[in-house]
Amino acid sequence: MIEVRNLIKTFEGRGQVVRAVDDVSTQVAKGEVVVIIGPSGSGKSTFLRCLNGLEEFNDGQVIIDGIDLTGSKTNLNAVRREVGMVFQHFNLFPHKTVLENVTLAQRVVRKRGPTEANEKAMNLLTKVGIAEKANEYPSRLSGGQQQRVAIARALAMDPKVMLFDEPTSALDPEMVGEVLDVMKQLAREGMTMAVVTHEMGFAREVADRVMFMDAGRILEDAPPARFFTAPKEPRAQAFLKQVL
């Protein structure tokens, strides 16, 4: 479903070049849940953002469901419809109600009629447990509620892949659970997911594979059972010691 070949992304700032993603190659199969962990600044967000072309990369290939992002005939907007993304800071549209947040892209991108879009939105809002807030503005919602709306908004496009960039990092501890529950359910339903998170419990329980990134490279890629008990890389060992 996702194929990455020799992906390189550099940032140039104040005279020095940062290799945020440094020659990464990997694959994610359909229905697989991959959790990406690693220290701050290791390039996890940048890597994730390259997967839906939000970040223009310097070299390499990203192929989503058979479509090469860098292909000369590729319409990036068409690919992005198929790839949902959930951000650390929710990024809900503050001038739209919860319902409108979920229907907007359905209507302008998928060209669905209002009835169909509303019905789809209400179903998804019910699924993430927040249907009763449909007509509120996002600013009236708690962080956990906002993040669940953001997930519903991404799901409304019927994506084939979902990307999560630290979806619970900006939440108060008591709200982390409600968001993780929605993500777990999604994983059970067979969604292909790439999740950057610091929630090791989630990784252990849900992930098919755990990737450890450092300095722009994937140093370790293993099933959670093996990764958490016997990491091979010394840097992964050190990292785990810190967070566990």
Partner: protein
């Protein structure tokens, strides 16, 4: 102990009143010294007045009867060579029974309410400001978008336009627009005036809109793009609505300035409020009264407008 010590309000409000009264008194004293005679009673007629409309005799002849009918007087004229008498209605008759009248002689007058020059000037000021404000908003929106565009040509054009307008006085722009562009393109003076004002606000509006767009968090654009919306859809549905809400106060300020700045078009002989005031003074000699009235009218328009925009802002604040 209260955390914040409350300043006693009364004495300071008293002082304010004293200062204002003092200012009024010195104004009165100053006009006394130059022996200025206030004639406020002359002002209202310049808003609206009753014009006399002459009623003419349709045929030459003699006034044979004069009867009152409600507000009107019926003036009956018997034609010279005999024939059917003709009646003329007039609010005020200016002939007596037995008077001989020639054809088209005025036999009486009617009174009609007419709009005075001050009201007319006010109207011109208002519509010129609104029209140029709207055009300026459109220019500003387009220029603001060009200003942040990735295309160097569009960006360069926008920057040059903005700098040219912001770096020169409006008065000079109006002259150039009227005498140069206006002559070349054979423009009407109103078109030239509105054009100059619109270009002027356009440049300032562009900068306001650019700042507004750039103040919208990058995450908003990213969220929209990640849903598959293209750049235009993102701009229309996500960025501009939020930016517009944010720039409403500075935009309102700009528009209120425009109403005041529009007084400069009076230099190319557009009869706006300021020009009307100047024209009235040459005939009425009530210099101070007219200028005070003109100032008050500008104040009235800008005050109503800022109240309106305040209300609009409150409505937009619903989603906060």
């Amino acid at each position: 102990m209260p955390l914040k010590r409350r300043t006693a309000q009364r004495p300071w409000q008293g002082l304010l009143a004293v200062i204002l009264l003092g200012l009024a008194a010195s104004l009165w004293y100053a006009t006394q010294r130059i022996h200025y005679e206030w004639r406020w009673e002359r002002v209202p007629q310049y808003f609206a007045y009753r014009a006399e409309v002459a009623q003419d005799a349709p045929v030459p002849g003699q006034v044979s009867a004069l009867t009152a009918e409600g507000r009107f007087n019926r003036i009956v004229i018997t034609p010279e060579g005999g024939g059917q008498p003709v009646a003329v209605m007039a609010e005020k008759a200016q002939v007596k029974v037995g008077d001989a009248v020639a054809e088209n002689d005025t036999v009486g007058v009617n009174f009609e309410w007419r709009v005075g020059p001050l009201a007319q000037g006010l109207w011109v000021t208002i519509w010129i400001s609104f029209v140029s404000g709207f055009i300026g908003l459109a220019i500003g929106l387009i220029t603001g978008l060009c200003r942040i565009s990735k295309n160097p040509t569009l960006r360069g054009l926008a920057i040059i336009y903005i700098e040219l307008i912001r770096g020169t006085p409006l008065l000079v722009q109006i002259f150039i627009f009227y005498f140069f562009i206006g002559t070349v393109l054979n423009l009407d003076r109103i078109v030239a005036g509105v054009g100059a004002l619109a270009l002027f606000v356009g440049a300032y509006t562009a900068e306001i809109i650019r700042a507004g767009i750039q103040s919208i968090a990058k995450g908003q654009t990213e969220a929209a793009r990640s849903l598959g919306m293209n750049a235009t859809q993102t701009m229309i549905h996500i960025v501009l609505p939020q930016a517009f809400k944010r720039v409403l106060p500075p935009l309102a300020g700009q528009f209120i300035s425009l109403i005041k700045d529009s007084s400069l078009v009076s230099v190319i002989a557009i009869t706006d409020l300021t020009k009307s005031g100047r024209e009235i003074i040459t005939s009425s000699f009530a210099t101070f009264e007219i200028w005070f009235t003109v100032a008050l009218l500008y104040l009235l328009v800008t005050a109503v407008l800022s109240q309106l925009l305040f209300w609009l802002e409150r409505r937009f604040a619903r989603s906060d």
